[in-house]
Amino acid sequence: MIEIINLCKSFNGHAVLDNLNLNINTGETTVIIGRSGCGKSVLLKHIIGILRPDSGQVIVDGKDVTKMEEKELNALRLRFGMLFQGAALFDSLNVRGNVAFNMIEHMNSKPSEIDKAVKESLALVGLKGIEDKKPAELSGGMRKRVGLARAICIRPHIMLYDEPTTGVDPIMGDAVNDLIMELHNKLKITSIAVTHDMTSAYKIADRIAMLYNGKIIANGTPDEIKNTKDPIVRQFVTGAGKGPITEGIDFEHLV
């Protein structure tokens, strides 16, 4: 279980996370929705310990990530997998080097074991025969899949997805959603995804939480979120141009 307690984080005096509280249940897929730039990715980076909060706690399986030393944090990170928005593949390494990065760096795996794990991970994301290609030779969708293969190569217990369907066409986006669900079913992992793509959120989520003004303002099942009476959540999930979120913002000049 992951517990986020009173998490606060500011950048240049602007509070991005403001006393945020959220519980994520083991084995569930939780999707965090919110507008672009509202702090969803910042929240993910706090969960995996890349960013340190100004105050508050992130408890993963009973241990506070914010108080961990680098060694302990690295041991914990080996239980995580993270898919970045732009895949964040290492340009200097080929697909094999990217996917097997953790095995090469942190485990004394034999080359035959590495090859087997790379092939299996790529197969899980529907790719084969691209081990020797460089990231620059791959399309956006393929990069995302290789990023996913890298994240699952050492079979993590917790998966973090940062905008998994952003930057790919709708068909590839749906394929990525299917992949996330398939991985969740096959590997039985806890997943946290941040997105503003409601189609994706409804499809993959067991629970949906909405981040607004640094706080979680709604948390429920996809059906509960879909039928919410909260005007802010309602405006976001329906994608309405007018409502409390955009109050005072004039879009006339865009027309």
Binding site: K45, I48, G49, I50, E70, N74, A75, R77, L78, F80, M82, F84, Q85, G86, A88, L89, F90, D91, F101, N102, E105, H106, R150, L160
Partner: protein, 263 residues
């Protein structure tokens, strides 16, 4: 009154920015030195960087050192001919190359060629979240990215400096022997005889410090780049400019130190 307050505010911002920047460089230097003895030792990566930094810089270092040696010989001949002291051109070229021009020119070339490329590479990694990805994969970015470049520069810059010294002296030899008519034996004697180990070592000590400056500035600028391609471009420019300024400033400091302390 408002103008004065604005001026004080701008000065204050510049000053805190300067303190933050130098503090950042100092922290990165400390972290790099901390991670150097920690396993794993990435020999393959260090050799790759040595090749990129050292071997690939050989053509440009050769060209600039050769021409510098030749120009130095020609310019000093212009003055020395007045006093019929052409034979001392060899010593002047040797001293100038070993103590000053070899280390400084090589460092400036490497800062422009290698420092810029390190900043651009790390800056791109930063803005495309590759450095964050390294951390999520339980790998320290300083150990993985900075340490191999630091060690490679510490090894290759002094070697390149030594090479530049020799090529510069060869440039002086070409002018001295083939243009000014100094005999081969006389030129060689006047090159090697007055040259002491101290002259060579002071140049090499400088180049070690220049290697630290180039690597730390380039890596710091790269790892703090923000704002997409434009930000990477800005960081790359800043990396070269700051490295150049620091190299010249530290060269002045070391020259004064060696002049007064190691006379």
């Amino acid at each position: 009154m408002k103008m004065i307050l604005d001026m004080i505010r701008i000065l204050g911002e510049r000053f805190t920015g300067f303190i933050r920047y130098t503090g950042g460089l100092a922290v990165l230097t400390g972290q790099t030195l901390f991670w150097i003895p920690m396993p794993p030792f990435r020999r393959r990566q260090i050799f790759e960087q040595m090749s990129r930094i050292g071997v690939d810089s050989l053509p440009i270092v050769s060209l600039i050192s050769l021409f510098t040696g030749m120009v130095l010989a020609l310019q000093s001949a212009y003055q020395m001919q007045r006093f019929s002291a052409e034979m001392y051109i060899a010593s002047l070229v040797a001293f100038s190359m070993c103590r000053e021009l070899g280390p400084v020119l090589t460092a400036l070339i490497v800062a422009g060629r290698v420092g810029a490329s390190i900043t651009a590479e790390l800056g791109t990694m930063q803005v495309t979240e590759q450095i964050d990805a390294l951390e999520t994969l339980a790998t320290n970015p300083i150990k993985y990215l900075v340490v191999p470049r630091f060690l490679a520069l510490m090894i290759m810059l002094p070697l390149l400096t030594l090479y530049a010294d020799i090529i510069g002296m060869a440039g002086g030899y070409i002018i001295g022997v083939y243009k000014l008519g100094i005999s081969h034996a006389m030129y060689m004697k006047n090159t090697w005889h007055p040259l002491k180990c101290k002259d060579l070592f002071t140049g090499l000590i400088k180049s070690y410090f220049f290697a630290i400056i180039i690597c730390i500035v380039a890596c710091y600028e790269g790892m703090t780049a923000e704002g997409g391609a434009e930000g990477v471009g800005r960081s790359t420019t800043s990396s070269v400019v700051v490295s150049f300024i620091l190299i010249i400033a530290w060269d002045c400091f070391f020259t004064a130190l060696f002049y007064f302390v190691m006379r």
